[in-house]
């Protein structure tokens, strides 16, 4: 177990190193001169040169990389040209919004997807199964922006029971906070729930076909024990993988959903960075996204060891 964790950490470090390298190079090979963007077209050649030296842009690439890496490790991601604020501050402000959004959408996907998958598999080819399958494919097929707009129309416009946009931290005001998040959660979580449901269904069907399940039946165990103890645990192993990948994407920020519901989240920050050619924001967003993605996968890998003893002893 310890060896497994150490091994996974050992894999984690080079991945993160690679990510910083790519984030750094990507910005440098991207077209456009940030200094000219800053100074505008009126600036003289001397002014440009002065600013370049001032910012260290005249140094060779590897020197700039290690300078930059040092800054990044000490939490300094630079100052946004557009906002005039440190990028790290911007990320700290927007990330909690995305965490709330992603976390809720994940719970929606788990609490709908897994039970629906289980019931679908255990009542294979029944009305419930066909209904859930149709619902799942609709959930995957309907774009989440469309679903979001539809939800706003129904619940905010006609029924007027939930707010259409904005963010209130649930920590500051739990009721208002959650009311603002319900629609985004559903809009974002539905497709995820559908994916989780399909995965759970097929992996549970596969497990129920295994001989150890027949052995469990031949031992005279009660159906609840066969299902919960012998089948679901095994079926969860591949499902947890897909949930982890889903969470990685969710944490990267759902640009579309954040735009529709006017949530000041990480996805919107990324979008503004792109629209305004604010490279430092993009760099920060890229780093944080990669960090979150690898961390989530790391956690999923650790979670595996609780589900599958074969990994524990590798």
């Amino acid at each position: 177990m310890k060896r497994y964790v150490v091994k996974r950490i050992a894999q984690y470090v080079p991945v993160m190193f690679g990510v910083t390298l790519i984030a750094f190079l990507l910005i440098n090979v991207a077209g456009g001169d940030p200094v000219r963007t800053m100074l505008g077209t009126e600036a003289s050649e001397e002014q440009v040169q002065m600013i370049r030296e001032d910012l260290g842009l005249d140094q060779p690439l590897y020197v700039r990389y290690f300078d930059w890496l040092g800054d990044v490790l000490s939490g300094d991601l630079g100052t946004s040209i557009m906002y005039g604020q440190p990028v790290s501050d911007l990320i700290v402000q927007t990330l909690p919004v995305t965490f709330w959004l992603a976390g809720g959408a994940l719970l929606v996907s788990i609490f709908i997807g897994i039970p629906a998958g289980i019931v679908s598999a255990t009542r294979r080819n029944t009305k419930f199964d066909s209904g859930a399958t149709i619902a799942a494919y609709s959930g995957i097929a309907i774009p989440n922006f469309f679903l979001g707009i539809l939800l706003i129309l129904v619940f905010a416009e006609y029924l007027r029971v939930l707010p259409a946009s904005g963010f209130v931290s649930p920590l500051a005001d739990p009721i208002q906070g959650i009311r603002h998040l319900i629609l985004p959660w559903i809009a974002l979580g539905t497709a995820q729930a559908a994916i989780v449901m399909r995965y759970m269904r097929s992996s549970l069907l596969e497990v129920m076909d295994q001989q150890y399940v027949e052995v469990a039946r031949s031992k005279g165990l009660v159906p609840a024990l066969i299902q919960n103890k012998h089948s679901i645990m095994n079926a969860l192993i591949p499902t947890v993988t897909i949930i982890g990948i889903n969470l990685g994407y969710l944490l990267g920020g759902s640009i579309v959903i954040e735009e529709i519901f006017a949530l000041p989240g990480f996805g919107r920050l990324a979008l503004n960075g792109v629209l305004n050619r604010d490279f430092l924001i993009l760099q920060g967003v890229l780093l944080v996204t990669a960090f979150l993605f690898t961390t989530v996968n790391f956690v999923v890998d650790i979670l595996y060891t609780y589900l599958d003893p074969r990994i524990r002893y590798e």
Binding site: Y212, V215, R217, K219, G220, V222, K229, I237, Y313
Partner: protein
């Protein structure tokens, strides 16, 4: 069709004549199992009759696809719901085929248990081996508060239960460790806490045997328990089955395709081919005087240590289950087949020893010789070569000559054609 009915009546009458039939633990009669498939219904098992007395070992032999495993799964009610089952399976005078799943659960694992072929996939990879055995004990031998707990059946049961098992597991756990010791698993206390992937194939099968005998069943169904093991381990496992059988006085239905294993462990044998029992006999009798051409071919395919003989593999293949011949399914491969073999499946004929005259049947208005069950030797065969009358089959005592004849082709005294 009329003669079929007559045969049936005759058989039932002869059965009634038996004033004191031996007490059967398991009595399968005329069992047929049909599965729906895209190419139409597939009859996996046809009119199989088989009985097992308490404490006895009966071998069920045949190639893969001959319906052995389906027969076994039918006994425990483990077949998929779409299967159509006809006939009767009586266990301890209870009809199993009409029982509900709830009723069968009382019997499964407790009075009838089963060992499967694939040791690798018989144990759940995410549960400790000890847990998988002790849960059977908890299910069937539960004293209040010591059975399966609600926690255990809940979805989170696995995660919440730590390796140090709470009190209500302890008793079943102690018994599990004892069982491990009994089946020869070294360091049983530690081994019980390990997972299946830490076991070798032989150890897994020992654990499966421990699981199967955990509630001291009356009947143990062993479905090719040694097929996946190498020869030395196979011998150990066979010895172990033999030992526990003697110790617990358990009857064993031993399913295999290996005649060598049959010879070693079984009291009686039924040979299956393409879903039908074609011959049944006490083991010694079957090996000394195999009658059905298929049995003879099976025995010929056993390699012997004495040189000079060449192996005689059986040519041809088992018939396509969706398109079985109407007559004897072995007909197409049989060296002694005659035209009447293709007409329909022959009834069961008793086999008597060479010096004992065949019984003379009265009022022979039938074109088929009278079958007889429960004959003294218990040797019977479904083959027209051994029919006893009315010009259809040769009226003679089948002897070892037949076997040689069967090997070479048609017997000289062939009267099988009408």
């Amino acid at each position: 069709m009329s003669h079929d009915r007559n045969v049936e009546t005759a058989r039932i009458e002869t059965e009634r004549d038996q004033s004191n039939p031996p007490q059967q633990l398991l009595d399968i009669s005329d069992l047929s199992v049909t599965f729906p498939s895209q190419e139409g219904p597939v009859e996996a098992v046809t009119d199989v009759s088989l009985s097992i007395e308490p404490g006895e070992t009966v071998g069920l032999v045949g190639e893969s696809g001959s319906g052995k495993s389906v027969t076994a799964a039918t006994i425990l009610g483990l077949l998929e719901e779409s299967a159509r089952i006809d006939g009767s399976v009586e266990f301890d005078d209870q009809q199993l085929l009409t029982k509900t799943d709830d009723e069968l659960r009382e019997i499964r694992g407790d009075r009838i248990s089963m060992i499967f072929q694939e040791t690798g996939s018989s144990l759940n990879p995410v549960l400790t081996v000890g847990d998988q055995i002790s849960e059977t004990i908890r299910t069937h031998r539960s004293i209040p508060n010591e059975g399966i707990s609600r926690l255990e059946t809940s979805v989170l049961g696995n995660l919440l239960r730590s390796k140090s098992h709470p009190t209500n597991y302890e008793r079943s756990w102690e018994q599990t460790v004892e069982l491990f010791e009994r089946v020869g698993i070294p360091a049983p206390e530690q081994r019980a806490l390990e997972y299946p992937h830490e076991y070798s194939g032989g150890m897994k099968q020992r654990a499966m045997i421990a699981m199967a005998i955990s509630c001291r069943p009356d009947l143990l169904i062993a479905d090719e328990p040694t097929t996946a093991l190498d020869v030395t381990i196979e011998a150990q496992i066979l010895d172990l089955i033999d030992e526990v059988q003697a110790e617990f006085d358990t009857a064993v239905l031993f399913i295999t395709h290996d005649m060598g294993v049959v010879n070693e462990i079984c009291d009686r044998v039924a040979v299956m081919y393409a879903g039908r029992v074609v011959e049944r006999a006490p083991t010694d009798e079957l090996f000394a005087h195999p009658k059905h051409p298929y049995t003879q071919a099976l025995l010929d395919s056993i390699p012997s240590l004495e040189g000079g003989q060449t192996l005689d593999p059986l040519a041809g293949q088992v018939p396509d289950p969706t398109d079985k011949p109407p007559g004897c399914p072995f007909g197409p491969r049989c060296p002694s087949a005659t035209a009447c073999c293709d007409a329909r499946f022959p009834p069961e004929y008793p086999v008597t020893t060479a010096d004992e005259p065949l019984p003379v049947r009265e009022g022979g208005d039938d074109d088929v010789p009278s079958p007889r069950r429960n004959d003294p030797t218990g040797h019977a065969v479904h083959c027209v070569l051994y029919g006893s009358g009315d010009g259809l089959a040769p009226r003679r005592s089948p002897s070892d000559e037949d076997r040689q004849n069967a090997d070479r082709g048609r017997p000289e005294t062939d009267g099988g054609e009408p």
